[in-house]
Amino acid sequence: MTSTGEAVQFWVLAVVAVGGALGMVLCRKAVHSALCLAGTMIALAICYMAEGAVFLGIVQIVVYTGAIMMLFLFVVMLVGVSSADSVKEVLKGQRVAAVVGGLGFGVLLCAGIANANLHSFQGVGAANQAAGGNVPGLAALIFTRYVWAFEVTGALLITAAVGAMVLTHREATEVKQSQRELAEQRVRLGTQVTPLPAPGVYARHNAVDAPGLLPDGTPAEISVNPTLRQRGQMRHLGSDLLRRMGELEQSTAGWLGRKAPKPRSGAELARVESEETEQREVESK
Protein backbone atom coordinates (compact mmCIF):
# COMPACT_ATOMS: atom_id res chain seq x y z
CA MET A 1 0.00 0.00 0.00
CA THR A 2 1.18 3.45 -0.73
CA SER A 3 0.93 6.70 1.07
CA THR A 4 -1.97 8.98 0.53
CA GLY A 5 0.32 11.52 -1.04
CA GLU A 6 1.39 9.11 -3.67
CA ALA A 7 -2.17 8.12 -4.31
CA VAL A 8 -3.18 11.71 -4.91
CA GLN A 9 -0.16 12.26 -7.07
CA PHE A 10 -0.90 9.09 -9.02
CA TRP A 11 -4.47 9.99 -9.77
CA VAL A 12 -3.50 13.46 -10.89
CA LEU A 13 -0.65 12.21 -13.02
CA ALA A 14 -2.63 9.34 -14.45
CA VAL A 15 -5.26 11.73 -15.65
CA VAL A 16 -2.58 13.94 -17.15
CA ALA A 17 -0.81 10.99 -18.80
CA VAL A 18 -3.91 9.45 -20.27
CA GLY A 19 -5.14 12.83 -21.37
CA GLY A 20 -1.83 13.48 -23.07
CA ALA A 21 -1.86 10.11 -24.74
CA LEU A 22 -5.37 10.58 -26.04
CA GLY A 23 -4.47 14.05 -27.16
CA MET A 24 -1.51 12.73 -29.03
CA VAL A 25 -3.62 10.24 -30.87
CA LEU A 26 -6.46 12.59 -31.56
CA CYS A 27 -4.69 15.83 -32.51
CA ARG A 28 -4.60 16.38 -36.25
CA LYS A 29 -1.40 18.38 -36.26
CA ALA A 30 1.85 16.59 -35.58
CA VAL A 31 3.23 19.40 -33.51
CA HIS A 32 0.30 19.25 -31.14
CA SER A 33 0.73 15.52 -30.83
CA ALA A 34 4.36 16.03 -29.96
CA LEU A 35 3.49 18.49 -27.24
CA CYS A 36 0.86 16.17 -25.81
CA LEU A 37 3.37 13.31 -25.77
CA ALA A 38 5.90 15.51 -24.01
CA GLY A 39 3.31 16.14 -21.32
CA THR A 40 2.64 12.46 -20.90
CA MET A 41 6.33 11.74 -20.65
CA ILE A 42 6.87 14.31 -17.95
CA ALA A 43 3.95 12.84 -16.03
CA LEU A 44 5.52 9.43 -16.36
CA ALA A 45 8.87 10.82 -15.23
CA ILE A 46 7.30 11.96 -12.02
CA CYS A 47 5.71 8.56 -11.64
CA TYR A 48 9.13 6.94 -11.93
CA MET A 49 10.49 9.16 -9.22
CA ALA A 50 7.52 8.35 -7.04
CA GLU A 51 8.23 4.70 -7.51
CA GLY A 52 11.79 5.11 -6.33
CA ALA A 53 13.43 5.21 -9.74
CA VAL A 54 14.89 8.65 -9.34
CA PHE A 55 17.57 8.21 -11.92
CA LEU A 56 15.16 7.00 -14.54
CA GLY A 57 12.83 9.87 -13.82
CA ILE A 58 15.59 12.39 -14.43
CA VAL A 59 16.77 10.54 -17.53
CA GLN A 60 13.21 10.46 -18.79
CA ILE A 61 12.99 14.22 -18.53
CA VAL A 62 16.47 15.05 -19.76
CA VAL A 63 16.90 12.50 -22.48
CA TYR A 64 13.41 11.59 -23.56
CA THR A 65 11.49 14.75 -23.14
CA GLY A 66 14.44 17.01 -23.64
CA ALA A 67 16.34 15.37 -26.42
CA ILE A 68 14.20 12.88 -28.21
CA MET A 69 11.06 14.93 -28.26
CA MET A 70 13.07 17.90 -29.50
CA LEU A 71 14.36 15.68 -32.26
CA PHE A 72 10.77 14.96 -33.12
CA LEU A 73 9.98 18.63 -33.19
CA PHE A 74 12.91 19.29 -35.50
CA VAL A 75 11.67 16.68 -37.92
CA VAL A 76 8.17 18.07 -37.68
CA MET A 77 9.63 21.42 -38.62
CA LEU A 78 11.46 19.86 -41.56
CA VAL A 79 8.39 18.11 -42.81
CA GLY A 80 6.09 20.99 -42.17
CA VAL A 81 4.72 22.14 -38.87
CA SER A 82 1.18 22.38 -39.97
CA SER A 83 1.00 19.13 -41.96
CA ALA A 84 -2.12 17.45 -40.67
CA ASP A 85 -3.76 14.12 -41.36
CA SER A 86 -6.93 14.34 -43.33
CA VAL A 87 -9.90 13.15 -41.36
CA LYS A 88 -11.01 10.68 -43.98
CA GLU A 89 -9.85 7.11 -43.45
CA VAL A 90 -8.92 5.39 -46.70
CA LEU A 91 -8.64 1.84 -45.41
CA LYS A 92 -12.07 0.35 -44.98
CA GLY A 93 -12.79 -0.73 -41.44
CA GLN A 94 -9.32 0.11 -40.21
CA ARG A 95 -10.48 2.49 -37.53
CA VAL A 96 -13.26 0.31 -36.24
CA ALA A 97 -11.02 -2.72 -36.22
CA ALA A 98 -8.26 -0.80 -34.48
CA VAL A 99 -10.53 0.53 -31.77
CA VAL A 100 -12.27 -2.77 -31.21
CA GLY A 101 -8.94 -4.60 -31.22
CA GLY A 102 -7.51 -2.02 -28.86
CA LEU A 103 -10.40 -2.36 -26.48
CA GLY A 104 -10.09 -6.12 -26.57
CA PHE A 105 -6.38 -5.89 -26.02
CA GLY A 106 -6.81 -3.55 -23.13
CA VAL A 107 -9.41 -5.77 -21.53
CA LEU A 108 -7.18 -8.79 -21.96
CA LEU A 109 -4.16 -7.01 -20.44
CA CYS A 110 -6.19 -5.77 -17.52
CA ALA A 111 -7.64 -9.23 -17.03
CA GLY A 112 -4.13 -10.62 -17.02
CA ILE A 113 -2.96 -8.10 -14.44
CA ALA A 114 -6.03 -8.65 -12.35
CA ASN A 115 -5.45 -12.35 -12.30
CA ALA A 116 -1.76 -12.02 -11.41
CA ASN A 117 -0.69 -12.39 -7.82
CA LEU A 118 0.49 -8.81 -7.15
CA HIS A 119 -0.30 -8.14 -3.60
CA SER A 120 3.02 -7.90 -1.80
CA PHE A 121 5.03 -4.99 -3.14
CA GLN A 122 8.45 -4.99 -1.54
CA GLY A 123 9.49 -1.51 -2.70
CA VAL A 124 12.95 -0.60 -3.90
CA GLY A 125 13.84 1.45 -0.90
CA ALA A 126 15.83 -1.36 0.63
CA ALA A 127 17.70 -2.03 -2.58
CA ASN A 128 18.52 1.63 -3.01
CA GLN A 129 19.76 1.96 0.52
CA ALA A 130 21.88 -1.16 0.29
CA ALA A 131 23.81 0.34 -2.58
CA GLY A 132 23.91 3.79 -1.08
CA GLY A 133 21.34 5.39 -3.28
CA ASN A 134 19.47 4.78 -6.50
CA VAL A 135 22.20 5.96 -8.82
CA PRO A 136 25.03 3.95 -7.23
CA GLY A 137 22.71 0.96 -7.17
CA LEU A 138 22.02 1.19 -10.87
CA ALA A 139 25.64 1.91 -11.63
CA ALA A 140 26.72 -1.14 -9.72
CA LEU A 141 24.41 -3.30 -11.78
CA ILE A 142 25.15 -1.67 -15.14
CA PHE A 143 28.88 -1.95 -14.80
CA THR A 144 28.88 -5.43 -13.36
CA ARG A 145 26.11 -7.73 -14.30
CA TYR A 146 24.88 -5.81 -17.32
CA VAL A 147 28.17 -4.49 -18.57
CA TRP A 148 28.04 -6.57 -21.70
CA ALA A 149 24.59 -5.37 -22.61
CA PHE A 150 25.70 -1.87 -21.86
CA GLU A 151 28.62 -2.09 -24.24
CA VAL A 152 26.47 -3.56 -26.95
CA THR A 153 23.92 -0.81 -26.48
CA GLY A 154 26.69 1.69 -26.87
CA ALA A 155 27.71 0.09 -30.13
CA LEU A 156 24.10 0.19 -31.20
CA LEU A 157 23.83 3.87 -30.45
CA ILE A 158 26.93 4.68 -32.45
CA THR A 159 25.69 2.58 -35.34
CA ALA A 160 22.36 4.32 -35.19
CA ALA A 161 24.01 7.71 -35.22
CA VAL A 162 26.14 6.77 -38.20
CA GLY A 163 23.12 5.25 -39.90
CA ALA A 164 21.09 8.39 -39.43
CA MET A 165 23.86 10.44 -40.95
CA VAL A 166 24.16 8.12 -43.89
CA LEU A 167 20.44 8.17 -44.46
CA THR A 168 20.02 11.91 -44.32
CA HIS A 169 23.25 12.98 -45.90
CA ARG A 170 23.06 14.20 -49.46
CA GLU A 171 26.22 14.02 -51.45
CA ALA A 172 27.01 17.22 -53.37
CA THR A 173 27.31 15.73 -56.80
CA GLU A 174 28.07 18.94 -58.71
CA VAL A 175 29.98 22.16 -58.16
CA LYS A 176 27.87 24.83 -56.57
CA GLN A 177 26.86 27.45 -59.12
CA SER A 178 28.38 30.87 -58.68
CA GLN A 179 26.30 34.03 -58.54
CA ARG A 180 27.35 34.91 -62.03
CA GLU A 181 26.27 31.59 -63.41
CA LEU A 182 22.93 31.88 -61.65
CA ALA A 183 22.42 35.33 -63.11
CA GLU A 184 23.26 34.09 -66.57
CA GLN A 185 20.91 31.22 -66.13
CA ARG A 186 18.12 33.56 -65.12
CA VAL A 187 18.66 35.71 -68.19
CA ARG A 188 18.87 32.67 -70.40
CA LEU A 189 15.65 31.17 -69.12
CA GLY A 190 13.93 34.53 -69.18
CA THR A 191 12.19 34.02 -65.82
CA GLN A 192 12.56 36.62 -63.07
CA VAL A 193 15.60 38.60 -64.08
CA THR A 194 15.39 41.28 -61.48
CA PRO A 195 15.58 40.56 -57.75
CA LEU A 196 12.31 39.50 -56.24
CA PRO A 197 10.20 42.33 -54.85
CA ALA A 198 10.33 42.84 -51.12
CA PRO A 199 7.24 42.10 -49.07
CA GLY A 200 5.14 45.06 -48.23
CA VAL A 201 6.22 46.86 -45.07
CA TYR A 202 3.46 48.69 -43.42
CA ALA A 203 3.34 50.21 -40.05
CA ARG A 204 0.34 48.32 -38.93
CA HIS A 205 1.33 44.88 -40.09
CA ASN A 206 3.93 42.34 -39.38
CA ALA A 207 5.96 42.59 -42.49
CA VAL A 208 6.79 39.27 -44.08
CA ASP A 209 3.32 37.83 -44.55
CA ALA A 210 1.90 40.78 -46.47
CA PRO A 211 2.66 40.99 -50.13
CA GLY A 212 4.29 44.08 -51.52
CA LEU A 213 2.27 46.22 -53.91
CA LEU A 214 3.40 46.57 -57.47
CA PRO A 215 3.50 50.00 -59.06
CA ASP A 216 -0.03 49.54 -60.38
CA GLY A 217 -1.23 48.81 -56.87
CA THR A 218 -1.80 45.09 -57.21
CA PRO A 219 -0.33 42.83 -54.50
CA ALA A 220 2.77 40.86 -55.64
CA GLU A 221 2.37 37.36 -54.25
CA ILE A 222 5.87 36.53 -55.36
CA SER A 223 7.22 38.87 -52.70
CA VAL A 224 6.05 36.58 -49.89
CA ASN A 225 8.17 33.68 -48.64
CA PRO A 226 7.17 30.51 -50.53
CA THR A 227 6.85 28.54 -47.27
CA LEU A 228 4.24 30.95 -46.04
CA ARG A 229 2.50 30.84 -49.39
CA GLN A 230 2.42 27.06 -49.40
CA ARG A 231 0.99 27.01 -45.92
CA GLY A 232 -1.65 29.49 -47.01
CA GLN A 233 -0.47 31.96 -44.41
CA MET A 234 -0.09 34.87 -46.81
CA ARG A 235 -2.07 37.85 -45.65
CA HIS A 236 -4.63 38.95 -48.20
CA LEU A 237 -4.92 42.66 -48.58
CA GLY A 238 -8.57 43.44 -48.17
CA SER A 239 -10.45 46.09 -50.16
CA ASP A 240 -10.77 48.38 -47.20
CA LEU A 241 -7.08 48.25 -46.66
CA LEU A 242 -6.42 49.10 -50.27
CA ARG A 243 -8.87 51.94 -50.02
CA ARG A 244 -7.23 53.26 -46.92
CA MET A 245 -3.84 52.96 -48.53
CA GLY A 246 -5.09 55.07 -51.39
CA GLU A 247 -6.35 57.68 -48.98
CA LEU A 248 -3.06 57.63 -47.14
CA GLU A 249 -1.15 58.14 -50.32
CA GLN A 250 -3.38 60.99 -51.28
CA SER A 251 -2.99 62.75 -47.98
CA THR A 252 0.74 62.17 -47.90
CA ALA A 253 1.05 63.61 -51.35
CA GLY A 254 -1.02 66.59 -50.35
CA TRP A 255 1.02 67.11 -47.24
CA LEU A 256 4.30 66.90 -49.06
CA GLY A 257 2.98 69.02 -51.87
CA ARG A 258 3.64 66.47 -54.51
CA LYS A 259 1.49 65.56 -57.40
CA ALA A 260 -1.06 63.08 -56.22
CA PRO A 261 -0.87 59.57 -57.74
CA LYS A 262 -3.73 58.39 -59.85
CA PRO A 263 -6.48 56.96 -57.65
CA ARG A 264 -7.01 53.22 -57.80
CA SER A 265 -9.33 52.17 -60.54
CA GLY A 266 -12.76 51.02 -59.60
CA ALA A 267 -12.28 47.76 -61.46
CA GLU A 268 -9.35 46.80 -59.30
CA LEU A 269 -11.35 47.44 -56.19
CA ALA A 270 -14.30 45.53 -57.53
CA ARG A 271 -12.13 42.50 -58.25
CA VAL A 272 -10.73 42.42 -54.77
CA GLU A 273 -14.18 42.87 -53.30
CA SER A 274 -15.65 40.00 -55.28
CA GLU A 275 -12.77 37.76 -54.17
CA GLU A 276 -13.50 38.68 -50.61
CA THR A 277 -17.18 37.82 -51.01
CA GLU A 278 -16.31 34.42 -52.40
CA GLN A 279 -13.91 33.82 -49.56
CA ARG A 280 -16.59 34.61 -47.03
CA GLU A 281 -19.08 32.31 -48.69
CA VAL A 282 -16.60 29.45 -48.67
CA GLU A 283 -15.85 30.03 -44.99
CA SER A 284 -19.51 30.17 -44.06
CA LYS A 285 -20.10 26.84 -45.73
Binding site: I68, V124, T168
Partner: protein, 99 residues
Protein backbone atom coordinates in the same frame (compact mmCIF):
# COMPACT_ATOMS: atom_id res chain seq x y z
CA UNK B 1 -3.78 2.71 -3.20
CA UNK B 2 -2.32 -0.44 -4.55
CA UNK B 3 0.74 0.12 -6.75
CA UNK B 4 -0.83 -2.31 -9.20
CA UNK B 5 -2.69 0.70 -10.49
CA UNK B 6 0.55 1.74 -12.19
CA UNK B 7 0.29 -1.42 -14.19
CA UNK B 8 -3.23 -0.63 -15.22
CA UNK B 9 -2.04 2.78 -16.27
CA UNK B 10 0.76 1.19 -18.29
CA UNK B 11 -1.70 -1.17 -19.96
CA UNK B 12 -3.98 1.71 -20.82
CA UNK B 13 -1.19 3.79 -22.27
CA UNK B 14 0.12 0.85 -24.23
CA UNK B 15 -3.27 0.20 -25.75
CA UNK B 16 -3.74 3.85 -26.64
CA UNK B 17 -0.34 3.80 -28.33
CA UNK B 18 -1.18 0.67 -30.25
CA UNK B 19 -4.48 2.07 -31.47
CA UNK B 20 -2.66 5.25 -32.42
CA UNK B 21 -0.22 3.29 -34.56
CA UNK B 22 -3.13 1.75 -36.38
CA UNK B 23 -5.20 4.84 -37.01
CA UNK B 24 -2.70 7.63 -37.63
CA UNK B 25 -1.13 8.10 -41.02
CA UNK B 26 1.54 10.66 -40.32
CA UNK B 27 4.77 8.75 -39.94
CA UNK B 28 6.02 11.07 -37.22
CA UNK B 29 2.93 10.67 -35.11
CA UNK B 30 3.14 6.98 -35.71
CA UNK B 31 6.59 7.07 -34.22
CA UNK B 32 5.37 9.01 -31.28
CA UNK B 33 2.77 6.35 -30.67
CA UNK B 34 5.49 3.75 -30.67
CA UNK B 35 7.37 5.85 -28.13
CA UNK B 36 4.28 5.96 -26.00
CA UNK B 37 4.07 2.19 -26.07
CA UNK B 38 7.71 1.97 -25.04
CA UNK B 39 7.11 4.37 -22.21
CA UNK B 40 4.19 2.33 -21.06
CA UNK B 41 6.46 -0.68 -20.96
CA UNK B 42 9.01 1.27 -18.98
CA UNK B 43 6.39 2.20 -16.46
CA UNK B 44 5.48 -1.42 -16.09
CA UNK B 45 9.13 -2.37 -15.69
CA UNK B 46 9.70 0.21 -13.01
CA UNK B 47 6.61 -1.02 -11.24
CA UNK B 48 7.85 -4.57 -11.42
CA UNK B 49 11.15 -3.41 -10.02
CA UNK B 50 9.22 -2.07 -7.12
CA UNK B 51 7.24 -5.25 -6.80
CA UNK B 52 10.30 -7.45 -6.59
CA UNK B 53 12.40 -5.07 -4.59
CA UNK B 54 15.43 -5.08 -6.83
CA UNK B 55 16.80 -2.76 -9.44
CA UNK B 56 16.93 -5.05 -12.46
CA UNK B 57 13.62 -3.79 -13.79
CA UNK B 58 14.94 -0.27 -13.77
CA UNK B 59 18.04 -1.41 -15.61
CA UNK B 60 15.92 -2.91 -18.35
CA UNK B 61 13.88 0.27 -18.53
CA UNK B 62 17.12 2.16 -18.88
CA UNK B 63 18.25 0.00 -21.75
CA UNK B 64 14.86 0.38 -23.34
CA UNK B 65 15.33 4.11 -23.30
CA UNK B 66 18.71 3.88 -24.92
CA UNK B 67 17.51 1.56 -27.60
CA UNK B 68 14.46 3.73 -28.13
CA UNK B 69 16.75 6.66 -28.65
CA UNK B 70 18.69 4.73 -31.28
CA UNK B 71 15.49 3.63 -32.92
CA UNK B 72 14.12 7.15 -33.02
CA UNK B 73 17.30 8.47 -34.57
CA UNK B 74 17.24 5.93 -37.36
CA UNK B 75 13.49 6.07 -37.79
CA UNK B 76 13.39 9.80 -38.10
CA UNK B 77 16.25 9.71 -40.55
CA UNK B 78 14.24 7.28 -42.64
CA UNK B 79 11.19 9.52 -42.46
CA UNK B 80 13.24 12.48 -43.62
CA UNK B 81 14.69 10.62 -46.56
CA UNK B 82 11.29 9.22 -47.53
CA UNK B 83 9.88 12.73 -47.32
CA UNK B 84 12.57 13.96 -49.63
CA UNK B 85 11.70 11.48 -52.33
CA UNK B 86 7.94 11.31 -51.99
CA UNK B 87 7.17 14.74 -50.54
CA UNK B 88 4.89 13.22 -48.03
CA UNK B 89 5.12 11.89 -44.52
CA UNK B 90 2.02 9.75 -44.79
CA UNK B 91 2.61 6.04 -44.41
CA UNK B 92 -0.23 5.37 -46.84
CA UNK B 93 1.82 6.87 -49.62
CA UNK B 94 4.56 4.30 -49.22
CA UNK B 95 2.45 1.44 -50.47
CA UNK B 96 4.58 -0.06 -53.21
CA UNK B 97 4.87 -3.32 -51.32
CA UNK B 98 1.96 -5.15 -52.92
CA UNK B 99 1.24 -7.43 -55.77
Amino acid sequence: MNPVNYLYLAALLFTIGAVGVLVRRNAIVLFMCVELMLNACNLALVTFSRLHGNLDGQIIAFFTMVVAAAEVVVGLAIIVSVFRTRHSASVDDTNLMKL
